[in-house]
Amino acid sequence: MDYFDRQPTDKLLHLYCQLLLLRLFEERVYHVFLQGELPGTLHQYQGQEAVAVGVCDHLSHTDWITSTHRPHGHAIAKGVSSRAAMAELYGKATGCCGGKGGSMHLGDPAVGMLPAIAIVGGGNSVVIGLGLAFKLRKTQQAAVCFFGDGATNEGAFHESLNFAAVQNLPIVFVCENNLYGASTAYHKVSRVTDVAERAKAYGVPGVIVDGMDVLAVHQSAAEALAQARAGNGPILLECKTYRFIGHSRSDARGYRSKEEEAEWKARDPINTLGGRLLGSSRATEAQLGAIEASVVAELDDAVEFSRNSPDTTPEMALEDAYA
């Protein structure tokens, strides 16, 4: 009886709902961005949903995550409300960062997510402090650091993983290897194909996971977090995944082939889980349709909320530099 079969149906439906929420959130964001309603730029998450959902399902609000320039999925999966997240993208005062953070710094301490750090590798530096605090306080909290394949070539990746290892910190390092850092293929910037291979340099377990399968991620994350909370130190999970969209909103993706994109899109994590739910008769088309309808309604509300939210004021800009 495999991991899927062992999951209660409501858990499976919850994961499906989360995957869909992340996907449709991004599609809605892109839509309003194209209508010129959002400032700045976007780095979106379509295709990688299984990673954020599979990992964050094991985290409570007292567990903390760090994120990257591509944080929308992490934020929603960790529990930032779609209203607070959407309003932040709109640059409204009601956003989770009061309009100061925006797309690249999405986060909310209330749910255990630091403002996303848009410096590649930046989250790797800071996350060790979260783990250290949990260790010193002897709590059962864990920290999760999300980062990309590109970040593994930053000095921060190295110093951080080594520090976490020698200090036995309760941290799970989740590398989302989507094959590219911006336009650069990972194989051009690393002689080793698997990021997990690098964990050995620190005496840390490195686990390769199918990042397109939310249940595979869910299972590996459960084990990794259990180890971390047990005081055995950090673990590196390498989730093989793919971003279905461009690096940022202005990316023609000329550096990768349409065939490659098609192959990966065939492994869409939402379709995969949806298919298994239907195939195993754990859910009906009607149920999945109802979930989608509820997600769409939530996003309609989030956009409405954001549009109607008060703008920030010039005065606000001068607050919060110092406590």
Binding site: P39, G40, G91, K100, S103, G155, Y255, P314, A317
Partner: protein, 344 residues
């Protein structure tokens, strides 16, 4: 008239930089480019497209794509420069310079001195600056950190003509030169985002250099000296335009390089106008405007008829929301009000 039109050759800063870099790469085999996403086929040609077309001409050997490793990029440039190459290193955003601060401050700037003058480090580091609604980590103007590093030169480009002449001079300079460019001025984003600034200037076909260390007077005036760089220069010019109507004649100067600083041109103006305002998008405290003001307060204090004013980004990180971002960075209105304040 038509003849002049014909002679005119309008380029954006991005095009001018590309042309200048290409010319130097053709001229000197020691020149090469190194950075993230600079030459990937089907890629971006650098974060702002400045390098588009160069890989086709110069090949992957001289347009080197790197891992996301700023320390390695800087280290590779420094080491190659020490061996007599003339690298042009690329930072996608100047905010990332902090990731290779040790290499720039402790190695690039000091290697020559530590060797007793036996070595030199002829490298260029290009770094885009400027607030564009991307928040605290993708909009800084950190040029002032680098004026505080003896051994480095610091250049700020604000139009295509000077961009081309300066990048060529920077490549030929025997010292590490940081070249800061404002994202809204590249021309790639179009005039709208740049607030309607004309983003192209005439760039002659003939080869030319612009010396590092010479300022240019962009608008002559007798009432007040206004020193500004990058997009703040254009906002200062816009303010000057409006103030002229009110009888205040601003002499607007683009220093072009912060180190070395052309105090000769600056002080000549201040001695004439008796008033000095410095404008930059870098934050106020410890910004390069402080150095200009401090030197003026030493070298031409008795010519001053009014307090020296600095119009800079307020001392906060950059917020994303446009309303707040516009509050933080110097606006035409703030520049105008400040100038009026000392010209009554």
């Amino acid at each position: 008239m038509p003849e002049q039109q014909a002679a005119e050759r309008k380029l954006t800063i991005a095009e001018a930089l590309r042309e200048g870099i290409a010319e130097e790469m053709r001229r000197d085999p020691n020149v090469f480019l190194i950075g993230e996403d600079v030459g990937i086929p089907g890629g971006f040609g650098g974060a702002f497209g400045v390098y588009l077309g160069l890989p086709e001409e110069f090949g992957a050997e001289r347009i080197i794509d790197t891992p996301i490793s700023e320390k390695a990029i800087a280290g590779a440039a420094i080491g190659a420069a020490l061996m007599g190459m003339r690298p042009i290193a690329d930072m996608q955003y100047s905010d990332f310079l902090f990731e290779c601060m040790d290499e720039l401050v402790n190695q690039a700037a000091k290697m020559r001195y530590m060797s007793g003058g036996k070595l030199k480090v002829p490298m260029v580091m290009r770094a885009p600056v400027g607030a564009t609604n991307r928040g605290a980590q993708h909009g800084q103007c950190p040029e002032s950190f680098f004026i505080h590093v003896p051994g480095l030169k610091v250049v700020c480009v604000s139009d295509a003509y000077h961009a081309k002449g300066l990048i060529k001079s920077a490549v030929r300079d025997d010292n590490p030169v940081l070249v800061f460019e404002h994202k809204l001025l590249y021309g790639s984003k179009g005039r709208a985002m740049a607030g309607g600034i004309e983003l192209t200037t005439h760039v002659p076909r003939e080869e030319y250099l612009v010396p590092i260390g010479k300022a240019v007077v962009k608008r002559p005036g007798s009432s007040v000296t206004v020193v500004a760089t990058h997009i703040s220069l254009y906002r200062a010019l816009a303010a000057a335009q409006e103030l002229a109507a009110e009888g205040i004649e601003c002499e607007v100067i683009d220093p072009l390089s912060l180190v070395p600083l052309d105090t000769e041109t600056l002080w000549a103006s201040v001695r004439k106008t008796g008033r000095l305002v410095i404008v930059h998008e870098d934050t106020l405290t410890g910004g390069w405007g402080a150095e200009v003001a401090a030197r003026a307060a030493d070298e031409c204090l008795f010519s001053l008829e009014a307090p020296i004013k600095r119009v800079a980004a307020h001392d906060v990180p950059l917020p994303v929301a446009p309303i707040m971002e516009q509050t933080v960075v110097p606006s035409v209105a703030r520049i105008k009000a400040t100038i009026k304040g000392i010209c009554q």
